[in-house]
């Protein structure tokens, strides 16, 4: 894919130059970093913990495995995976945003876990081919400018037989769409304003969810990126979907 200054991409409902997206997303997460987990709990009524736990349960990760957590932010998934792989395994926490990564790294240290934290772009992963048994990206793919490049990179760093788990907002069950729209575009920015003092970032969140590929499209994108087999789970009526791709 060409990456030049004339190409455009989505930032929520806005169309912006590709080179601007990374900076704009970065601003959003700098802004919400400190209240990120509180807002996640409030917005999802604690469901995000159940979704993340489910991702861990279906990963098939065992003691001694190597796991890469992309866009790991506040590190809650890295923490769960670190316990699962044990002292013989390794989890690497990465995020493109320094503020989010700082929150995650501090939390790992507070929990007594020595998880390496690395600031890097998912579209250019600084790891050798066939390195990891499992790669996970939770609520991060949506914010990436070139999703196809990122997925190809994730496929590259996986060992043969390795799994990519993509946990992301998706297309909600049709009868609930209107209710979900009201929640997303009325309540979410209001909660952002009251709790995180940042309505714009949560308006972006709602818009970016709508612009993200639906379940079947993302499945096809993963197949196009080179995964041999892809399957997905709809969680909470499709509010969130967990895609699992196998490198064959």
């Amino acid at each position: 894919m060409d990456i030049n200054k004339d190409s455009t991409t989505h930032f929520g409902y806005k169309t912006i130059a590709e080179h601007e997206k990374q900076q704009k997303v970065s601003e959003v997460f700098h802004s919400v970093a400190q209240n990120y987990d509180v807002m996640n709990d409030v917005m999802s009524a604690g469901m995000h913990r159940l979704w993340k736990r489910f991702a861990l349960d279906t990963s098939g990760v065992k003691a001694g495995d190597k796991v890469l957590d992309i866009a790991g932010g506040s590190g809650d998934l890295s923490k769960l995976f670190a316990k699962k792989v044990g002292p013989t395994g390794e989890v690497i926490l990465t995020d493109i945003n320094a503020s989010m990564l700082g929150v995650g790294r501090d939390r790992m240290l507070d929990a007594g876990l020595t998880v390496p934290a690395m600031q890097c772009n998912a579209e250019q992963l600084p790891f050798a081919d066939h390195t990891f048994d499992c790669v996970i990206v939770a609520f991060g793919l949506r914010n990436m400018t070139h999703k196809d490049l990122a997925l190809a990179e994730m496929q590259r760093v996986l060992k043969v037989g390795g799994r990519l788990l993509v946990l992301e907002f998706s297309k909600v069950w049709q009868p609930l769409e209107k209710l979900y729209d009201i929640y997303s575009f009325k309540l979410l920015p209001l909660m952002g304003k009251l709790i995180a003092k940042d309505a714009d970032s949560y308006q972006y969140l709602a818009e970016s969810i709508r612009m993200h590929p639906d379940q079947e499209t993302l499945k096809q994108m993963m197949l196009d990126a080179g995964f041999g087999k892809v399957d997905y789970y709809n969680l909470s009526a499709g509010v969130v979907a967990l895609h699992k791709g196998y490198k064959t």
Partner: protein
Amino acid sequence: MFKPLITRFLQHLTNQNNWARPHLLSFAGKVIQFNFSVANTSVLILEDGSLSAAGDTAVADATVHIPPSLAMRLLAKDETAKSYIKIDGDTHLAAEVSKVLQLMRWDIEEDLSRVVGDIGAYKIGEITQKTLAEIKQQGANAVDMVSEYWQEEKNILAKKRHVEQFNQDVDTLRNDVERLKKRLEKTHATLSQTDTTQQVKPNAKPAQESTEK
């Protein structure tokens, strides 16, 4: 909503039955579907030898068909019911996973002990087992009573020995009919042969007569 809960339970079950992991590991990534006619459930074997609910778009490598009536017999530990289970696809996978699942035990006392302590969990387990055994016994007694009433008082059900006698009589009758049929066929064949001989003789006479003339 249910998939995370089903997966949590399956993982818990695998953790309690760690012996099952090596048996399942060789089938990692495979999907097995249990078809109960009224509902289906698919299970995915994970790379660590544990189990999880399969994804919404998963294609089953093997399907085990268990109609509700058969499921009830299997739950009642009726060994003969197993021979009626129908399997499609990878039969080796289906047979191995079904065997492992049948041998897995949910150690409910272990789980309860974390909430109410070891003694409490043991007592609850003991009371539950006794209660279940009592319910099973009372259920069997009730069935016996009702069937006896229907057999003796109402004549709705036939007694086992009467049915067996009836079956024996039907078998004897069938054999007798078969024998009679054979005898009739034999008699018919003999009669046909006799008729043919008699028909040949009158034809021969005029020929002789014409020669004499």
